[in-house]
């Protein structure tokens, strides 16, 4: 499988980028310990019946994985800047193989984030039924698809000097509107807006860990629509980018 050799080195590259690793995975972990460690004894957080370490473990899992996906854009932008994307353009590497490698590298980062936050949660006494765990991880992986496409799209649209604010700001806004930091309630403008965003359903996917309940149909539809739209956007941005004169 020659295609896998290319992907394997793409993963290795992502894995060896220590600074990227630290900021992408270390920050959610740091956040988690800062918030949850002093409050490990809070067993009924905000009268939800859920312990604080558990509540923040799933919340930061949603946020951390989302950031890990979108930050693919940062790496793509720097590859473009050094002319690597143009170099790839004059090889037989297919668009599909290129996207597959980027996608898997992003998922590897996200997977690692989930595992490390899970371990961090356990160290603070969090335990979940295995079924909840599996449902949560499965749904999160699905919910991350639109963010993977968003990262690739931004990477091919935005230059390396502005990609940081673009991905950071974008991720923060999506996290805010998706209800990562505080519940959106059950009515009102923010709630209605949030329910149209993939970040809302990503948070809901993470909350599966708390409730064991999956998405309603609406969740699947929103994620599917955003996945298709952003993938088309990523493809367009990639093609436009590689055609342009250097």
């Amino acid at each position: 499988m020659r295609g896998l050799v290319y992907t394997r080195y793409e993963l290795l590259r992502a894995f060896r980028n220590r600074r990227f690793f630290f900021f992408s995975i270390g920050f959610p972990l740091l956040f988690y310990f800062v918030i949850a460690s002093p409050n490990r004894g809070v067993h009924d957080f905000d009268r939800s019946g859920i312990s604080l370490p558990l509540y923040y473990m799933v919340g930061l899992t949603a946020f951390g994985t989302m950031v890990a996906m979108i930050s693919t854009g940062t790496r793509i932008a720097s590859e473009r800047q050094i002319g690597w994307t143009r170099q790839l353009r004059i090889t037989p590497l297919s668009t599909r193989a290129y996207f597959r490698a980027k996608l898997l590298a992003a998922y590897m980062m996200s997977g690692l984030t989930i595992v490390l936050l899970g371990l961090a949660g356990s160290s603070l006494g969090v335990s979940l039924p295995a079924g909840h765990w599996l449902a949560m991880v499965g749904l999160i992986l699905v919910a991350l698809l639109p963010f993977a496409a968003l990262g690739i799209m931004l990477g091919h649209l935005i230059n390396v000097d502005s990609i940081g604010p673009a991905t950071g700001g974008g991720a923060s806004l999506l996290a805010f509107l998706g209800g990562t930091w505080f519940p959106l309630g059950s009515h009102g403008f923010l709630f209605e807006l949030g329910r149209l965003l993939p970040s809302y359903w990503l948070v809901q996917a993470a909350h599966t860990g708390l409730t064991g309940h999956g998405w309603p149909v609406r969740g699947w539809v929103v994620i599917a629509v955003w996945s298709v739209v952003l993938s088309a956007g990523a493809l367009y941005a990639f093609r436009r980018d590689t055609k342009r004169a250097g």
């Binding site: 020659r2 295609g3 290319y6 980028n17 050094i82 002319g83 690597w84 143009r86 037989p92 250097g246």
Partner: protein, 336 residues
């Protein structure tokens, strides 16, 4: 050696008028064909005609230098050759295929003018990664040996010097084991020794019967490494022939003599003289055969004095042939 002031537009035009007759046979579909290729860009000063209707035909196995000063249109030509930019008009055929088909089929390897390497992989890993995308790549060990990279095969790409990076980029271009190698100003970032090593590997690669097209603005590189030189200036091809032919066209030596009254037309008609020019009281004769020319000059103009004969290399040919042939073109001086 540089005497740009001696080149009048008229003399440049005369040289420009006829290309060196090409002795290269053309067989449709076999090699590389650029037919009437043109490309313009918009700029604040108006359109820039980077490439103007060039026709080039390259046979399999040839090593061709695309020589010209900066802004001549070399890189734009190479981009169109590789399918990185679509031409405004005209067509490109690589072994009977479109550039895209040839690239997808793994028939083309290229080293672009600018570009760095992705990080966090060793030289060997990067080569292995990129070899994997080609249908029939060379062995990574073989390429490492051929490009002299064995000693640094385990080094991470971000720790390489500029010259080493260029060598790795060259290795990436040849690992595909393609039929056509395209190099755009490959030695720009190299020191003298790396340059020497680089051309040595390039020649050994070309010796396998590969077709090589390289762009350069170093005359010496074209002279020493190409079978054929296509000289570009202002988006046009101003000469096309072997390095020897190119030198012959402009004269390999120059005679300078104080000769106030001689007629330029008569001077340029002397045997062995390729072109005559005037610089104040001095006449400047570019000679294809300076021995013949000096005899004829002294016989015809015994009053000639302060005579100097200087050797001219490809440098002079280059300056003469790339002088702007048509000053009426508004964008001629715009460097790309």
């Amino acid at each position: 050696m540089q005497r740009p002031g001696t080149l009048s537009a008229a003399s440049a035009n005369r040289r420009y008028a006829g290309r060196v007759a090409s002795t290269y046979p053309t067989v449709d579909g076999a090699g590389i064909r650029l037919d009437g290729l043109s490309k313009s860009f918009r700029s604040p000063e108006g359109p820039v005609h980077a490439v103007r209707e060039i026709d080039v035909s390259i046979e399999r196995g040839e090593t061709v230098a695309l020589l010209g000063p900066n802004g001549a249109g070399k890189s734009t030509t190479i981009d169109m050759l590789l399918g990185l930019q679509p031409p405004d008009s005209g067509g490109v055929s690589l072994f009977g295929r479109t550039p895209r088909q040839a690239v997808d089929g793994g028939l083309v390897g290229a080293m672009l003018q600018t570009g760095s390497l992705i990080q966090y992989l060793s030289v060997r890993e990067l080569l292995t990664m990129m070899a994997s995308v080609y249908p029939a790549p060379l062995g990574v060990d073989e390429v490492l040996e051929q490009t002299g990279l064995e000693a640094i095969a385990r080094r991470r790409t971000q720790k390489l010097s500029g010259g080493e990076t260029q060598r790795v980029r060259f290795a990436l271009a040849i690992v595909s084991n393609h039929d056509l190698l395209v190099l755009d100003e490959p030695t720009v970032a190299m020191d003298v020794e790396s340059r020497h090593e680089f051309w040595k590997s390039m020649r050994s690669f070309a010796a396998r019967g590969k077709t090589v097209v390289f762009a350069t603005h170093y005359l010496e590189e074209a002279d020493q490494n190409a079978d054929r030189v296509v000289l570009m200036a202002h988006g046009r091809i101003v000469a096309d022939g072997s390095p020897t032919e190119i030198k012959g066209r402009v004269g390999s030596r120059t005679i300078r003599a104080t000769l106030p009254d001689a007629d330029l037309g008569e001077l340029s008609g002397l045997p062995g003289v390729a072109n005559a020019d005037r610089h104040g009281e001095a006449a400047l004769l570019s000679c294809a055969d300076s021995d013949q020319a000096i005899r004829a000059l002294l016989e015809r103009f015994p009053a000639a004095r302060d005579i100097e004969i200087t050797g001219a290399g490809l440098e002079d040919a280059f300056l003469a042939l790339t002088a702007d042939p048509d000053s009426d073109a508004p964008d001629a001086a715009v460097a790309l």
